[in-house]
């Protein structure tokens, strides 16, 4: 039986599972299709809970930056 060429449009997410980021389901898939697959970053923090740690740390720092500046701009008297 001849294999049908299924367009990528119908394959996204179904293969990767629910809530997959579009970096994997779209960018990564097309990059592989065009012969340039993604590779690991130079500083790979995507190892176990390390990524969770750096995202949380970035969140805390970013939250303080936003909070401090919002207070300075909108709530402190000139």
């Amino acid at each position: 039986m001849e294999k049908k060429n299924i367009p990528v449009i119908t394959q996204t997410n179904n293969e990767e599972g629910a809530w997959t980021g579009i970096d994997v389901s779209v960018v990564g898939k097309y990059a592989e299709k065009y012969g340039h697959p993604p590779r690991d970053p130079y500083i790979n923090t995507d190892q176990g809970d390390l990524l969770l740690f750096v995202f949380t740390a970035a969140g805390v720092i970013g939250g303080f930056v936003i909070g401090f500046n919002v207070r300075k701009i909108f709530y402190e008297k000139e």
């Binding site: 367009p7 990528v8 449009i9 119908t10 996204t12 997410n13 179904n14 629910a18 809530w19 997959t20 980021g21 579009i22 970096d23 994997v24 389901s25 779209v26 960018v27 990564g28 097309y30 990059a31 065009y34 012969g35 340039h36 697959p37 993604p38 590779r39 690991d40 970053p41 130079y42 500083i43 790979n44 923090t45 995507d46 990524l51 969770l52 750096v54 995202f55 949380t56 970035a58 969140g59 805390v60 970013g62 939250g63 303080f64 930056v65 936003i66 909070g67 401090f68 500046n69 919002v70 207070r71 300075k72 701009i73 909108f74 709530y75 402190e76």
Partner: protein
């Protein structure tokens, strides 16, 4: 009141950032772009970043509140661009992120917005395994340059059409999001050149998939957020918008 806002901002940030899935979103990952495109996109992006530095130096002398505004919006762009929002769209369940450059372009100007996006993308590439160092130029082009300038011009055109402040912000946010993903589609579409594929067909196909997967919905969400932020700034401190040239007279009521 100010303490409440600060605490809320931190909790909001933590809730959405603390996810392992955050590593996967729109950014072009390390290794995807071949060397010639790595160099090209860096060459395109760097002049914009340089002009952004010049604009910050000039504007901080004119407006004392400008630097805190850059800090706030820089952190906001960083958060927006690595914060995965679950979306149920035509093509199933996916997560993707907004860009925030439409908002920063309107409030800081497009060149400073490119600089802010470049710094956010660099931090993400270095520490969050998000994007990449070799693809930094490409990501600055799509999210920084295309996102900022399209959002800025959308805002200006909407103002010319005498739309209310909310709708001007809405269009800036929505258009910048769409153009960011169009930029990513162009960068991926260019990879087919020399391999017998059609650049236009590939770009259109990738952009279509982005729209159906998540961005069709997410660009509307981003537009609403930017609209509300502009209305908040206007209600809380209209003088900022006046200094930035976004409104002409803060004594006359602006249609929000």
């Amino acid at each position: 009141m100010s303490r409440t806002v600060t605490v809320f901002a931190i909790i909001f940030f933590l809730l959405f950032i603390s996810s392992e899935n955050a590593v996967y979103a729109m950014h072009i990952t390390e290794g995807i772009l071949p060397p010639k495109w790595v160099i090209t996109w860096f060459a395109v992006a760097m002049p914009f970043v340089g002009i952004g530095i010049y604009h910050i130096k000039r504007k901080k002398r004119q407006m004392p509140v400008y630097l805190p505004l850059v800090g706030t919006l820089g952190a906001a762009v960083f958060v927006f661009s690595c914060f995965p929002i679950p979306v149920i769209a035509l093509n199933g369940m996916a997560t993707s992120h907004p860009c925030g450059t439409g908002m920063s372009a309107v409030l800081l100007g497009p060149f400073v917005s490119v600089l802010v996006a470049a710094i956010a993308l660099l931090i993400q590439a270095l520490f969050l395994a998000h994007g990449g160092l070799t693809t930094l130029g490409g990501n600055i082009f799509s999210m920084g340059i295309l996102g900022s300038f399209s959002g800025y011009f959308a805002f200006k055109i909407a103002q010319r059409c005498r739309l209310s402040l909310f709708w001007c912000g809405f269009l800036a946010g929505m258009v910048s999001d769409l153009f960011t993903y169009l930029g990513t589609s162009i960068e991926l579409g260019l990879l087919v050149i020399g391999k017998g594929g059609s650049f236009i067909k590939a770009t259109a196909e990738i952009f279509g998939v982005f729209m159906m997967t998540s961005q069709g919905v997410l660009c509307i969400v981003e537009g609403i957020v930017v609209g509300f932020i502009l209305v908040f700034v206007y209600k809380r401190k209209p003088g900022i918008l006046l200094h930035l040239g976004l409104i002409k007279d803060d004594t006359k009521p602006v249609q929000v």
